[in-house]
């Protein structure tokens, strides 16, 4: 047993925190108020090597593996969930699909510019009739010689309006169903027939752009198939496994920030003649939050270790996402309550954190899907097959 974070990663955290305080914090409120992704900030993330953190250096990444990526997501999550969502969609699932499923040529051509942040990625799975039921996608890819013609639409795609490259899942053989019948593709924004549809107005993570993608007979070379034809579902599910861990790390950061705000306010706000932090009700909220944060921190970094040491982590990643998202919402909700009316005010960041945090219980697999995944893993040895 050794829980020490390597020196490189400690230095990395310090560097990221400095970057986040100087560059992300000033942008966070503005992106929320105006509802757009600040591309200057995205450029600065790229310049600082923060868009390819987990990937090997040979592909333009920082070579800091999953541990480094979790540190990044935790630090981003402390200050701006929108920025964490931009990076999560780009690195954690968009580029990750190519890293996990792509061949060397694709990694050279596509992963490298993504890891360097020269191009931005998105992950396109969800459709109007395929939310939690991801296997029910209708977007069709028809083989035509050495290319595929993709027709259909995707919705709720994080980074849709700002991305250059899209990992897209489409049906290649409707008879084979989800195992064997769906394939993952790399689609470039410039390809004819591709367009961005409706941009969503959301409760939170308003600095992270979400949109529809429209595929109107988009011609994609067969060389852009990620992995094997028919293996798209497996690639995407593996990608989401990894993505869930990063999401849990971002939740850890959000909860930690909420705890610190709660403590600071409780120590300074005087009512009934003493700081409200003297009251047991407030102390209990703080104690419960600190307890849950400790649990999540252990979960996240242990799971990162599982990933980096090539052990199975499907169960653990789903636990990180489920527990982390619900815990972060609770922590931020408590912090808001401790601040009273100030917490409910848009002049103070807590209400933004509260709106932002809520998405983590929904996207990248709703928490209901996480429970299905977890129940499936836990019940397998007992001979029970868990179906949605």
């Amino acid at each position: 047993m050794d829980f020490t974070i390597p020196k490189t990663h400690q230095l990395f955290r310090r560097m990221v925190r400095d970057f986040v305080e100087h560059e992300v914090r000033p942008a966070a409120k503005k992106m929320d108020a105006l509802g757009y992704s600040d591309m200057d900030l995205v450029r600065k993330l790229a310049e600082n090597g923060l868009l390819g953190v987990p990937f090997p250096q040979e592909y333009g990444g920082a070579g800091l593996r999953e541990l480094g990526y979790c540190i990044l997501m935790e630090e981003l999550g402390r200050v701006c969930t929108s920025t964490a969502a931009i990076v999560g969609a780009h690195t954690g699932i968009g580029a990750m699909a190519i890293y996990l499923g792509g061949d060397e040529a694709q990694k050279a051509k596509y992963l490298t510019p993504l890891a360097r942040g020269e191009r931005i990625a998105a992950f396109a799975l969800t459709e109007p009739d395929a939310g939690s039921d991801a296997a029910n996608i209708k977007t069709r890819a028809v083989r035509d010689g050495n290319r595929y013609i993709i027709t259909g639409s995707k919705i709720y795609i994080t980074n849709g309006p700002i991305a250059d490259l899209f990992a897209v899942m489409a049906v290649t053989d409707p008879h084979l169903g989800v195992r064997g019948g769906v394939t993952a593709f790399i689609v470039e924004r410039e390809m004819a027939g591709f367009s961005i549809g409706t941009v969503e107005h959301k409760m939170g993570i308003r600095g992270s752009a979400t949109s529809e993608l429209v595929f109107d007979e988009v011609i994609v070379p067969a060389a852009n198939v990620i992995g094997q034809v028919g293996a798209g579902f497996i690639t995407f599910m593996q990608t989401l496994d990894t993505g869930r861990l990063g999401l849990g790390a971002a939740c850890l950061g959000g909860a930690q920030a909420a705890l610190e705000m709660m403590c600071r306010y409780a120590a300074g706000r005087v009512q009934f003649g003493t700081p409200i932090g003297d009251k047991q009700s407030i102390q209990w909220m703080i104690a419960d939050t600190a307890t849950e944060i400790e649990a999540l921190r252990s979960l996240v970094y242990r799971t990162a270790w599982l990933v980096d040491s090539h052990q199975p982590f499907t169960l653990e990643a789903a636990v990180c996402k489920l527990f982390g998202s619900e815990m972060a919402s609770r922590a931020i909700d408590r912090a808001l309550q401790v601040h009273g009316a100030l917490g409910y005010s848009r002049d103070f960041p807590l209400e933004r954190m509260w709106r932002d945090a809520r998405i983590a219980e929904i996207f990248e697999g709703t928490n209901e899907i996480q429970r299905i995944v977890i129940a499936g893993q836990v019940l397998r040895p007992y001979g029970l097959r868990v179906r949605p």
């Binding site: 969800t126 009739d129 395929a130 939310g131 939690s132 039921d133 029910n136 919705i155 709720y156 969503e200 107005h201 959301k202 409760m203 939170g204 005087v270 009512q271 009934f272 409200i276 009251k279 009700s281 407030i282 808001l336 309550q337 009273g340 009316a341 917490g343 409910y344 005010s345 848009r346 002049d347 209400e351 509260w354 709106r355 809520r358 998405i359 219980e361 929904i362 996207f363 709703t366 928490n367 209901e368 429970r371 949605p388």
Partner: protein, 383 residues
């Protein structure tokens, strides 16, 4: 025991629901986005007599609703638009009712007819930046000047600020809290900027500055030094009203959840067929049902002239928590559709969160309730 509504109460409820469905529902989404209630809606509310809900028929032409019927009104309104319900609640529960109980004859004559007609909406100005849960920290000061008073200070989180024609203001007079009714046109009374909030965006919540505002003696509410008691009494009744607001929000959220779960197909069937979703909705419905009877019981106690402070605090505590939990769960039932602003549940969820904070936070309700529980023992409950 009789849990049924009288035929008159049932008739009123139908009328409230019809009005809400016809006039409030269509304005709610826009009101949230534009961050104000349309003037037209407020006119329609006044024309229906809802601004006179708690005023007696004689001599003010009021509607004189009993508390139970009044909770039906707030519930019907909040099911469509919580901002609208809150505006009417603050005017009636905190403003009009307090002036009727504690205002001088001259004050009532001067203000109540206009208030009942909705021409003079009431605002309740108790909270200050340094006095939230602890109103004894008030800094706004009143001094005597002949047979009038002069008020100076700053208020925050004033619901109906700017919209109001009369402000109920609580100030320290010789270190004793004293309540005044200040018409909006009082020189020196300045409404500050809107305090923008997570939800309740169509409700007008502002700061208020009192720059040497003169209040003639007849604008005193109750007697000098009775302000704290008057505020607590108003808030006791206000808690029943706010619990009714929460009830409307929760009940509608469950309806929205059932509708969505019946229509949304995933995995080959409506998601309502999944046990997990059924559990969410069943728990939500149970909490709404429990709230309904807490609200009605507290209102019935008020109508019967019995003490209801403890029951009101319990209703507010439970109802606000219910509304926050239920809307949260119904957002989850909607999945991604719950997070975008195209579906109403997103607004209900943001609005509901205010209920655990305003008019006494959950923690303040716990203190009130614990105080009641330990009355007559050697335990002294202090905040």
């Amino acid at each position: 025991m009789d849990f049924s509504l009288t035929s008159e109460q049932q008739m009123f409820r139908q009328m409230f629901r019809d009005f809400a469905a016809r006039d409030v529902a269509k304005a709610a989404d826009q009101a949230d986005k534009q961050e104000e209630l349309p003037a037209r809606l407020l006119k329609r509310v006044a024309a229906q007599g809802f601004m006179a809900a708690l005023a007696p028929e004689e001599p003010y032409g009021g509607v004189g609703l009993d508390a139970v019927t009044y909770t039906l009104l707030l519930e019907a309104l909040s099911a469509e638009c919580m901002s609208a319900a809150l505006t009417i609640h603050v005017h009636n529960s905190l403003g009009l009712r307090t002036i009727l109980r504690h205002g001088s004859a001259a004050l009532q004559e001067a203000l109540v007819a206009e208030m009942a007609a909705g021409e003079r909406i009431a605002a309740f100005a108790l909270t200050e930046p340094a006095a939230g849960s602890d109103p004894t920290c008030l800094r706004t000061a009143a001094v005597r000047d002949g047979d009038a008073y002069v008020l100076k200070g700053e208020k925050s989180w004033v619901a109906n600020g700017g919209l109001a024609g009369v402000y109920l203001v609580f100030a320290q007079l010789d270190s004793r809290i004293t309540a005044f009714a200040l018409p909006a046109e009082t020189p020196g009374l300045v409404v500050g900027g809107r305090q923008k909030t997570l939800g309740l965006r169509a409700a007008a919540i502002t700061r208020l500055y009192l720059n040497d505002c003169r209040a003639p003696a007849e604008n005193l509410l109750g007697a000098e030094g009775q302000g704290y008691k008057i505020a607590l009494e108003a808030l006791d009744f206000g808690r029943v009203g706010l619990a009714a607001v929460a009830l409307g929000v929760g009940r509608r959220a469950v309806e929205l959840g059932v509708k969505f779960a019946a229509e949304r197909v995933q995995f080959g069937g409506p998601i309502g067929q999944k046990q997990a979703i059924q559990d969410y909705l069943a728990d939500a419905a149970a909490e709404v049902a429990a709230t309904e009877w807490l609200v009605r019981h507290a209102a019935w106690l008020a109508d019967s002239g019995k003490p209801f402070g403890q029951e009101a605090a319990i209703a507010k505590l439970f109802a606000s928590r219910m509304a926050a939990q239920v809307t949260n769960r119904i957002v989850q039932v909607h999945g991604g559709y719950g997070y975008i602003t195209d579906y109403p549940i997103e607004r209900y969820y943001r609005d509901a969160r205010s209920l655990e904070i305003m008019e006494g936070t959950t923690q303040v309700q716990q203190i009130v309730i614990a105080g009641g529980l330990f009355a007559g023992t050697n335990v002294r409950v202090r905040p």
